[in-house]
């Protein structure tokens, strides 16, 4: 069994109308924009051309945009695993679908009432036929990511993992994505993850 040190390669944060890549502010919009409007501004700012974007629910849009920005639109290792989590599951879209239930239940909303649809969207965009898992926890749980991801490496099932905390609730979004590989970055431990997730200089 291997016991190589794993490292955090790049990270990305989207919250409060701002986008940070590796700690650096790369985009900022007016505070108080609706999630939909903010996401469209990020999409336009990044000059993305992916018409499926407009069909996604907001949770998937967050995951898609975060991944595009983190990876500069390219994931080379098609076996890169996706290990994601959030707190509110797909509750925002659940509520939207429930509203359509009163008259004509909407299939295009129903399909997004599962949090792992986001993993499907990212897999389709980057043609990843890789390991997927979606966890739900009350708040960002660094140790869960570390344990599950390390097991994937120890079992020699992956060489790269894209981890993501993508939460959306009541128009409040919180996205934290980072890549894990065998070498070439910060040490992959709880302390580093916490620092990246909630930088103290904020």
């Amino acid at each position: 069994m291997m016991s190589k040190e794993l490292s955090i390669k790049n990270s990305l944060i989207i919250r409060e109308s701002r986008v940070f890549r590796n700690g650096e502010l790369i985009f900022e919009a007016d505070q108080g924009l609706s999630t939909t409007k903010f996401l469209k501004k990020v999409y336009n700012d990044q000059k993305l051309k992916y018409s499926k974007f407009f069909k996604m629910d907001e949770l998937s849009k967050l995951g898609y945009l975060g991944t595009e920005i983190l990876t500069n639109g390219s994931i080379e290792d098609k076996e890169t695993a996706l290990v994601f989590a959030n707190s509110a599951s797909s509750l925002e879209t659940d509520v939207a679908f429930a509203q359509t239930m009163e008259e004509f239940p909407s299939p295009s909303l129903f399909v997004y009432t599962l949090p792992n649809i986001m993993l499907g969207e990212i897999s389709i965009r980057h043609q990843l036929r890789s390991e997927n898992i979606f966890f739900i926890s009350e708040e960002f749980d660094p140790l869960l990511f570390i344990d599950y991801t390390t097991a994937l490496f120890q079992q020699e099932k992956v060489e790269n993992v894209l981890c993501g905390w993508v939460n959306l609730h009541n128009n409040d979004y919180d996205v934290f994505l980072w890549k894990i590989a065998n070498s070439g970055g910060m040490e992959f431990n709880e302390e580093e993850l916490k620092k990246l997730y909630l930088p103290t200089h904020e």
């Binding site: 069994m1 996706l82 707190s87 509110a88 599951s89 509750l91 659940d94 509520v95 679908f97 429930a98 509203q99 239930m101 009163e102 004509f104 239940p105 909407s106 299939p107 129903f110 399909v111 009432t113 599962l114 949090p115 792992n116 649809i117 986001m118 993993l119 499907g120 969207e121 897999s123 389709i124 980057h126 043609q127 990843l128 036929r129 890789s130 390991e131 997927n132 898992i133 979606f134 966890f135 739900i136 926890s137 009350e138 749980d141 140790l143 869960l144 344990d147 599950y148 390390t150 097991a151 994937l152 120890q154 079992q155 099932k157 009541n170």
Partner: protein, 379 residues
């Protein structure tokens, strides 16, 4: 890594309130699918496997206050309680709880849409954990219809990482207006009890159930037990709801699993397939099984007995597979009529007694996810 085993278990469904009642019903080819007329979304009713609240409360009152919990919480608590009863020596300080669900307490989503706590899946899991006094925070896996088996993989992997020494995996999902109307909007609900892999299949029947299994190192020597060997997931990268036409993700998950564990298709004694009975899903599975040369291996779908129980289905089916292996007993693929997929498959058409050693469990779901898992009988 030390092996983990599928130890004590519980299935709570329309077919029974413990595993042995369920197996007895399956052995006698009884189905939990009945015609129900309680949904405004179906003028002519719908077939589903429902559990009456009254029966749940009759059981629940023996261990707790029914009025304090939602229907799904009660089902999950009953399932976990049975597993704990079977393992009185279990130390809850070192035992994890892994919950598998897709929609949790979605039946509590009210028309006024006021947010209520029980809708959070983590909160529902915490309610179950607190009922018994688990010391560690429960873990929730919500990955569509592969969740039940993915939760077993999660328990195994986290035990391997030393997070806990054993874990109870518990899964549950309900048949709510929410999922009924959603599947109906997909025109995916069969107007008859579902008929997996048959030429006259026309969609899913939904079912509700909860199940639980203890995962951990086997402490009893010289006794046959079922080992979790490995599981691998793979995404189709094709479509968020439609299964891949080439079975790509399922094919990838099975072939990688075989390669990694140095297994040949001829070594597999039995396949517990997903078999939801939608046109596209069953066809996709046949293509994937054909691509890995599993055509001759006896195979069934349990959906004809339970309906599709979503986040519970792969967990129930893993538990039933465990008992099939232990008892050398295979169950007929209920409601199978005429072969209705393009590839040749060996679909079980009667119960069979047969020496069994190695089983393959598969599952696929929305979001393009697929999972393949190996379970093996050991002494």
């Amino acid at each position: 890594m030390n092996r983990n085993y599928l130890l004590g278990d519980s299935i709570i469904s329309p077919l029974g309130f413990n595993t042995s009642e369920n197996i007895e019903a399956v052995r006698n080819e009884r189905s939990g699918l009945k015609l129900h007329n309680n949904s405004r979304f179906f003028e002519n009713g719908y077939y589903a496997g429902l559990i009456e609240n009254k029966i749940i409360d009759t059981e629940f009152i023996k261990i707790g206050k029914p009025e304090l919990h939602t229907k799904l919480e009660k089902l999950l608590i009953l399932a976990v309680n049975q597993v704990l009863d079977q393992s009185p020596a279990l130390d809850l300080k070192e035992t994890g709880l892994v919950i598998s669900t897709t929609k949790g307490n979605i039946d509590q989503l009210r028309n006024d849409l006021s947010p209520i706590g029980s809708l959070y899946l983590w909160k529902m899991a915490q309610v179950v954990a607190d009922f018994f006094g688990f010391k560690q925070k429960p873990i929730v896996v919500s990955n569509a219809c592969i969740s039940g088996a993915l939760a077993i993989k999660t328990a195994n992997d986290l035990i391997g990482m030393g997070r806990f020494s054993k874990a109870i995996v518990a899964g549950g999902d309900l048949v709510s207006d929410f999922v009924l109307s959603g599947f109906q909007s997909f025109q995916a609900i069969s107007d008859k009890p579902c008929r997996p892999f048959s030429n006259d299949r026309s969609g899913v029947s939904l079912g509700e159930a909860a199940a639980a299994v203890l995962i951990g190192p086997g402490d009893q020597e010289n006794q046959e037990k079922i080992a979790y060997i490995d599981a691998i997931t793979a995404n189709d990268a094709n479509h968020i709801s439609g299964p891949s036409r080439t079975g790509e993700g399922l094919y990838q998950s099975i072939s990688r699993l075989f390669k990694k564990n140095k297994i040949e298709a001829t070594q597999i004694d039995y396949i517990s397939a997903h078999g939801t009975a939608t046109m596209f899903n069953d066809e996709m599975e046949s293509i994937a099984f054909d691509r890995v040369s599993l055509n001759q291996v006896p195979l069934n779908s349990f959906k004809g007995y339970y309906g599709h129980t979503l986040g519970t289905s792969a967990l129930i089916e893993s538990i039933l597979t465990k008992h099939s292996l232990l008892k050398n007993e295979l169950f007929t693929s209920l409601n199978y009529s005429e072969h209705g997929v393009s590839k040749n498959l060996n679909i079980l058409q009667k119960n069979e007694k047969k020496e069994l050693g190695l089983a393959l469990k598969t599952a696929s779901g929305f979001g393009g996810c697929n999972l393949a898992m190996l379970l093996k009988k050991e002494r």
